[in-house]
């Protein structure tokens, strides 16, 4: 399973406040893991995804603020940050990312299930 760091119930990450993005985790029928991570207000350029060993970290900072006086504020100001620990059988090198409508979707394939042609010995008969 993928665990996560920075559990909000334990006070989040050390060294500064951050916003934990709401994330769905699912497994598709090929065994790949899918993360759908909500980063509203973050542009594509503002998303930063890093993989260090088996730690997958997603960060996102919002685009510039509006002008004017803020008279109602419910949206947190902090940057988004969340780290997931990948299972050993997941292929961190094969991650595909897509960002649409403020939702980052990552597809993390299983190791060794990537489609590849396997040579078949024989004389073709």
């Amino acid at each position: 399973m993928m665990a996560r760091k920075g559990d909000p119930r334990r006070g989040g990450y050390p060294g500064g406040h951050s916003r934990i993005p709401a994330t769905d985790v699912s497994i598709d029928d090929s065994g790949s893991y899918l993360l759908r991570c909500e980063l509203p207000g973050v542009s594509r350029e503002g998303v930063d995804i890093t993989l260090s060993r088996n730690e997958l970290t997603i960060r996102g900072s919002r685009s510039q603020d509006e002008d004017g006086r803020l008279i109602v504020q419910e949206i947190p100001r902090e940057e988004f940050r969340r780290t997931f620990i990948l299972r050993d059988d997941l292929d961190g090198g094969g991650i595909e990312a897509k960002f649409d409508l403020g939702v980052l979707t990552l597809v993390i394939p299983r190791k060794g299930i990537k489609s590849q042609s396997i040579p078949i010995d024989g004389d073709g008969e």
């Binding site: 509203p40 207000g41 002008d67 004017g68």
Partner: protein, 142 residues
């Protein structure tokens, strides 16, 4: 802070400008509207800007209308996912949502415009011209 028995309270810090629906959980429980997205409201001399966080919601799946003093956005949001996909963690809000924001009378609601980018709905409500601050010329005394 919440006012009124119909769930349409407003934040008390500003008398007329940018009040919202107050206690969202109570309001949503009462009206069975699902979840309520968070909003920010900015005010300049010429406009009021309402930002609503709606990540993963397509433009076609939301409805925005102004009725009386209230700007309301509603719609529904799917979780996505292909057939055969098994969810292990579901943190995202899905299903129907609704959020109302009280708009002040100084706004010209008929000139409102809205756009959607990066999962944030941005509604611009221009302040009526006669309500905008203006500088008075001081006539030269003799």
């Amino acid at each position: 802070m919440r006012e009124g028995g119909n769930g349409r309270g407003h934040l008390g810090s500003e008398s007329d400008v940018g009040g919202t629906t107050g206690d969202r959980s109570v309001r949503c429980f009462l009206s069975e509207c699902g979840w309520a997205p968070p909003v920010d409201i900015y005010q300049t001399e010429t406009e009021l800007v309402v930002l609503v966080e709606l990540p993963g919601v397509d433009r076609d799946d939301m409805d925005l209308h102004i009725s009386g003093d209230y700007l309301t956005v509603s719609g529904s949001k799917g979780r996505g996912g292909a057939e055969g996909e098994v969810f292990r963690r579901m943190e995202r809000n899905t299903g129907s949502f609704e959020r109302s924001v009280r708009i002040p009378s100084l706004v010209n609601a008929s000139a409102a415009s809205a756009s959607l980018a990066e999962g944030v709905l941005r509604v611009v409500l221009p302040v009526a011209e006669e309500q905008q601050p203006r500088r008075l010329e001081i006539e030269k005394g003799s």
